[in-house]
Amino acid sequence: MKESEALQRSGSEYNFGSYQRLEAIYNWMDTLVAEHPKLVTKVLIGSSYENRPMYVLKFSTGGTNRPAIWIDTGIHAREWVSPATGIWTANKIAVDYGKDASLTSLLNTMDIYMLLLANPDGYSYTHDNDRMWRKTRSRSPGSNCRGADPNRNWDSGFGGPGTSRNPCSDLYHGPSANSEVEVSNVVNLIKAHGNFKSFISVHAYSQLLMYPHGYSCKDIPDMAELDTVGQAAVKKLASLYGTRYEVGSICKIIYPASGGSIDWAYDTGIKYSFAFELRDTGLSGFLLPANQIIPTASETWLALKHIMEYVRDNPYYTQH
């Protein structure tokens, strides 16, 4: 595992095998950009409800508006292994470009966008107030309860099954679709860009790789293809440590869930839309030991890479 240890020590001594506070993550992003200036730029996409900047790391070797892959981590605040995996992955992409032939060929024709902290207010709250917080921290008129579930706030079956209209619920969908600024910031970027080919959202826990829909259990037209890609991806994931993942649509595998990000992405024409639920299956749950961060990120990378290579090798056009 020497290579992994070497990766641990790069990035100006950022410890990839630990859970860091928001400030440390933001500092590290600047370090990554400074170390890989030709590949990585930091893009401000807007602010959170409590005015924290939201930054996307853009991996690009040039071109104009190349077909792109979107990856977000940390949308649910308590799912710490998700942004931890995102950080390791961002570093891996930066370090392996130019060394890994497949990744290099991918980045020579496509861009990768990574939103590492999709819910910075929530993430900060889990460090200072409530480790089990899930939602954003927006205020709801007429209620003392804060926050909406940012993964029920997208304009895809909004307000449908698997959501709540009670602001105190952990599944509160918010007053309207895109009411959460954390969500609208992403929606605006994706729409303005117009050329995303894949949208991947990373959560924890349960060890699942899912595709749309959550708001309906009816099979999507591309179900067979996405299922095949997913099955191959989790096979590669399992090859590292034997970690078992299940594959299926959100609605069937875990539960009906409306207003979710990958449903929205798919319905806007981004065919290769997937959601990960990372380790574990409930033993530690949200409190995954830090010594599992790098194993989780390493195995997940194999699945991510498979999906990204597939996207690279299967270009398509969407009519808008």
Binding site: S18, Y19, T126, H127, D130, R131, M132, R134, G142, S143, N144, C145, D149, G157, F158, G159, G160, P161, G162, T163, S164, R165, N166, P167, C168, S169, D170, L171, S206, Y215, S216, C217, K218, R244, E246, G248, C251, K252, I253, I254, Y255, P256, S258, T281, G282, L283, S284, G285, F286, L287, L288, P289, A290, N291, Q292
Partner: protein
């Protein structure tokens, strides 16, 4: 041909709707869940004494608002799948999770804590007014030793508005390979004392770390929590223990070590974190028992919402 998968409809139903009512066809537009008034839940008539060395007597009413929230979300009923089920889909997995909670109440200990590893086969049938029955073949795994075992099980979710805990029977006959007896007796003897009673908190902590020597009490908390999770389970829930907030040993009584536990449960369908207190007693001979189980309000520093 295999038994018909009677997928009637994916709908959102009101609590007051009759279960099993035939539903129309195909896809409906998404329907917003309506808040539904619950029947009033009785408040305990006298304060529960928690003899934990803590300096308060706590009287805790059951939180109807919390239950109402859970009901609001979890009432999206994937109506009436019967026959052969896909073992990887959630109806089978939820029923299988109930089996594991049952097994933990029977066989769990500080050194045996079972979890669901895989569902191989699942079927479901309606029992009319008596609810629904799942027949399952599952592989379970002890989360401590990693030992796996396959067994069959039946889970009956009672019907009717009163509900009630699921009833579980299994073919599992007890831990076969791993012998935890020596460890259990060592732990029992170490803590069978009236002095230096154990206490701990945040197992695991925010970073997933369990303090050295505390793992058996993390495991015990998980096993004891299965008593709660079993009785709280339905076809619309999937429970795991999220964290032991605190554990405080009480004096041994009737040869049982006793511990007050404060735990957070994660209910996957509503995504709620639910706070319970319970009293766990354990000995190698008697296994684990849980009593004085109490639901606590969602958060102590929150004010209740102005609606409802």
């Amino acid at each position: 041909m295999s038994p018909a998968l009677m997928r009637v409809l994916r709908v959102v139903v009101l609590l007051s709707a009759v279960r099993g009512a035939p539903l129309a066809t195909v896809t409906l537009p998404p329907v917003i869940l309506e808040p539904v008034p619950l029947e009033p839940v009785p408040v305990p008539s006298e304060p529960v004494r928690v003899d934990s060395g803590a300096d308060q007597n706590i009287s805790i009413p059951i939180n109807t608002e919390q239950q109402q929230q859970q009901q609001q979300v979890s009432l999206d009923v994937d109506v009436m799948l019967t026959g052969e089920l896909n073992p990887n889909h959630y109806p089978a997995r939820r029923a299988a999770q109930v089996v594991l909670h049952h097994l933990n109440t029977r066989y769990g200990s500080p050194y045996w804590w079972g979890a669901l590893r895989q569902v191989h086969k699942a079927t479901a049938e309606a029992l009319g007014d008596s609810g629904r029955k799942y027949s399952l073949e599952v592989t379970l795994q002890d989360q401590i030793s990693g030992t796996k075992e396959t067994c069959t099980a039946e889970v009956v979710f009672p019907g009717g508005p009163a509900g009630g805990p699921p009833q579980v029977t299994t073919s599992y006959e007890g831990k076969s390979e791993i012998n935890t007896q020596a460890q259990e007796e060592a732990l029992y003897n170490q803590y069978n004392t009236s002095q230096n009673l154990l206490s701990g908190h945040n197992l695991p902590d925010s970073y997933g770390h369990v303090a050295p020597g505390m793992e058996p009490f993390w495991h015990l908390g998980g096993v004891a929590s299965s008593f709660v999770m079993l009785k709280e389970s339905s076809e619309n829930t999937l429970y795991n223990m999220a964290q032991v907030v605190s554990v405080t040993q009480l004096a041994t009584e009737n040869n049982q070590l006793r511990f007050n536990y404060d735990v957070l449960l994660h209910e996957m369908v509503s995504q709620e974190i639910i706070h319970w207190k319970l009293l766990a007693s354990w000995s190698p001979q008697e296994g684990v028992k849980a009593s004085q189980m109490e639901l606590l309000p969602k958060c102590h520093h929150c004010e209740p919402p102005q609606e409802h």
